[in-house]
């Protein structure tokens, strides 16, 4: 069945302008009213894999809390007050390594329609000092821009706030959706990049590397601050050569001197998530390499340090040390 064949609408969400906007994008979808979004999203025994083949939309109203402290495993890029927020849960892409498949009980996409309340929560937080905020961690806002224009809403919001810095992380090539906006200094567009082979094997539905690089180039030309996120680094056959050639390709298209910064992150996951997801995924070899559980309950490759070191050295050929995090 086609994507978004059904849209579940929380009763209290229906009247919000964002809900009306989303519904207008899918006039043919079957609309089902629900009392609380968790009645659908949190049903027991849902099959994440099967749902990915026919994802539904859920429109809901988020209640407090709106902001969460940045997780330990995520890079804070030297920012002291690191928070993330989730105006959307789940993603339209289907990456084998994605932590979301162990995080949520459902693959359906929840859009919280009360975006203004997210903004108010940010304003309250800003009263106690500067804030570094990531609203595109548990989703890909730029990829969803055609459905709900939250990437542009966050950019516009950040543009008129003192002390706020926002990172919009994406795998999308949908830069044209925000190309009309004036670049905002407080916003970093952060592109996750992987070699062709990794995209082909493990990042179903995500755009190819070339398309992402074209989008990045256009964003840089327009004057946006662009972060390159080399994570998760995935171990594949002949990984040294694959990643060396990958970086050569990236920087043959992207002018290194204009990149804001970059980060490196070898594939890692909490022990509980790893256990849950690897049990679900007997259709991929991504969890089949020798892994170890490090301090703090984080599972990663046995040779994580070697992979990171190799990648760092090669990235350092293009970017100075002070621009490389992770």
């Amino acid at each position: 069945m086609s994507k978004f064949s059904h849209i579940y609408i929380e009763e209290r969400a229906a009247a919000y302008p964002v809900a009306q906007h989303v519904l207008s994008r899918f006039p043919g979808s079957i609309r089902v009213m629900v009392r609380h979004y968790k009645d659908v999203f949190n049903r027991p025994h849902q099959d994440f894999r099967r749902q990915k083949a026919s994802t539904k939309l859920i429109l809901a109203v988020k209640r407090e809390p709106f902001l969460y402290p940045g997780p330990e495993v995520c890079e804070d890029f030297g920012n002291p007050n690191f928070y993330y927020t989730s105006p959307v849960l789940n993603c339209i892409y289907d990456c084998d390594y994605c932590y979301l498949q162990g995080l949520y009980p459902s693959a359906n996409i929840v859009i919280f329609v009360n975006i203004e309340e997210f903004f108010k929560a940010v304003d309250r937080q800003l009263e106690s000092g500067p804030l570094y905020l990531c609203p595109s961690y548990d989703t890909d806002l730029l990829a969803l821009e055609g459905i709900v224009p939250y990437a542009s809403r966050w950019i516009e919001f950040a543009g008129i706030r003192q002390g706020l810095r926002i990172e919009l992380r994406t795998r999308s090539a949908n830069y044209s959706a925000i190309a009309g906006l004036t670049p905002v200094e407080q916003v970093i567009l952060a592109w996750s990049l992987s070699p062709h082979e990794v995209v082909r094997r493990y990042e179903r539905l995500a755009p190819p590397l070339k398309a992402r690089l074209t989008a990045i180039k256009a964003a840089l030309q327009d004057g946006w601050q662009v972060r390159l996120c080399f994570e998760p680094l995935i171990k594949i056959h002949n990984w040294q050569q694959v990643y060396r050639e990958f970086l050569d390709e990236v920087f043959s298209i992207i002018p290194a001197e204009r990149v804001f910064d970059a980060n490196i992150g070898v594939f890692r996951m909490s022990k509980e998530q790893f256990k849950r997801i690897s049990r679900l995924r007997s259709d991929t070899d991504i969890f089949a390499f020798p892994m170890v559980c490090r301090e703090g309950g984080v599972v990663t490759y046995e040779d994580e340090k070697e992979i990171r070191g190799f990648f760092y050295q090669n990235l350092n050929r293009y970017l100075p040390e002070e621009k490389i995090y992770g």
Binding site: S5, Y8, V32, R43, H45, Q51, F289
Partner: protein
């Protein structure tokens, strides 16, 4: 495997005939019919009856050693329902996307992941018969397109065992809440008329619920069993062995290496088994 729950014998009979189901006389508690790939149980009227029959059907008949076990089956509640809305002609089958329990107010949602030939709608399950005049006079307030007496009990019981993409409710419009004399033949006709569409739907559902085969072949599983036995592995070690074997196959795409050396070893103390398992680990994880 498809399980079907109907409330009434007259709802069951067209299905029994269509799929050539045979009465299972071993079941003393409910009328139960079966074929190689289908069970049908007649629950009796009411959500409690439906819940009991549904739980009984699943718990008694799912054998975990059958292909797929619980994961490979789907259960469908098929029956007639009433509606106040005359835009649904009598005999219209609907696939239900929301079940409301009138008494508790709880809502249940099947996961509709497949293309199907039905119009979709919501249904409200009541303990008592709902009559047209009750609704028109405001004594009963309806919050759904259709009304029945089983769906919420069926769904609640089924979701205790199964995933929401394995549970479906198909209801055929049988009346406009104006029944005076219950006509079994008319009910059977309503169900009969929907069976072509139901049949296509069942095929789709079977495809959706098909369980992918294990990455390990039957021979490889046997080989691992022999290794576990001869090395006297603990339960945890046995799980580790199978897990490593699966990961090896996923990573390399090759069949498992020959373990006959380990299968023939007879360990006397557990420490020997541990050592052998470590050798297997190196073989499977680092090749």
């Amino acid at each position: 495997m498809i399980y079907i729950v109907t409330a009434l014998p007259c709802e069951a009979s067209p299905i029994v005939k269509r799929y050539d189901l045979k009465r299972d006389d071993a079941c003393r508690h409910f009328p139960l019919y079966r074929s190689d790939d289908m069970f049908l149980i007649v629950s009796g009227v009411g959500k409690m009856a439906s819940a009991i029959a549904t739980a009984y059907l699943i718990a008694q008949n799912v054998k975990r050693d059958e292909a797929g076990g619980e994961e490979g089956l789907a259960i469908i509640n098929i029956g007639v329902c009433g509606t106040l809305n005359q835009r649904y002609p009598i005999g219209t089958p609907l696939l239900i996307h929301k079940v409301i329990d009138h008494e508790t107010g709880k809502q249940y949602f099947p996961d509709i992941l497949i293309e199907h030939p039905f119009e979709e709608g919501s249904i409200e399950t009541h303990n008592d018969v709902v009559r047209r005049e009750d609704v028109l006079s405001g004594r009963v307030e309806l919050r759904a397109d259709l009304v029945d007496m089983e769906a919420s009990g069926f769904f609640q019981a089924a979701s205790r065992f199964l995933a929401p993409h394995q549970i479906y409710v198909i209801k055929v419009v049988g009346d406009y809440l104006d029944v005076v004399d219950f006509d079994r033949q008319r009910v059977a006709q309503c169900i009969s008329g929907a069976l072509d569409a139901v049949d296509g739907f069942i095929k789709q559902v079977e495809g959706l619920c098909r369980v992918e085969g294990d990455v390990l072949t039957q021979d490889e599983r046997l080989q691992l069993e022999r290794v576990k036995e001869s090395l006297r592995l603990t339960v945890t070690q046995s799980h580790q062995l199978v897990d490593m074997a699966r990961r090896y196959k996923l990573r390399t795409g090759r069949p498992l290496p020959d373990f006959s050396e380990f299968a023939q070893t007879r360990v006397k103390v557990k420490a020997e088994g541990r050592k052998a398992l470590e050798r297997i680990r190196r073989l499977l994880l680092y090749e």
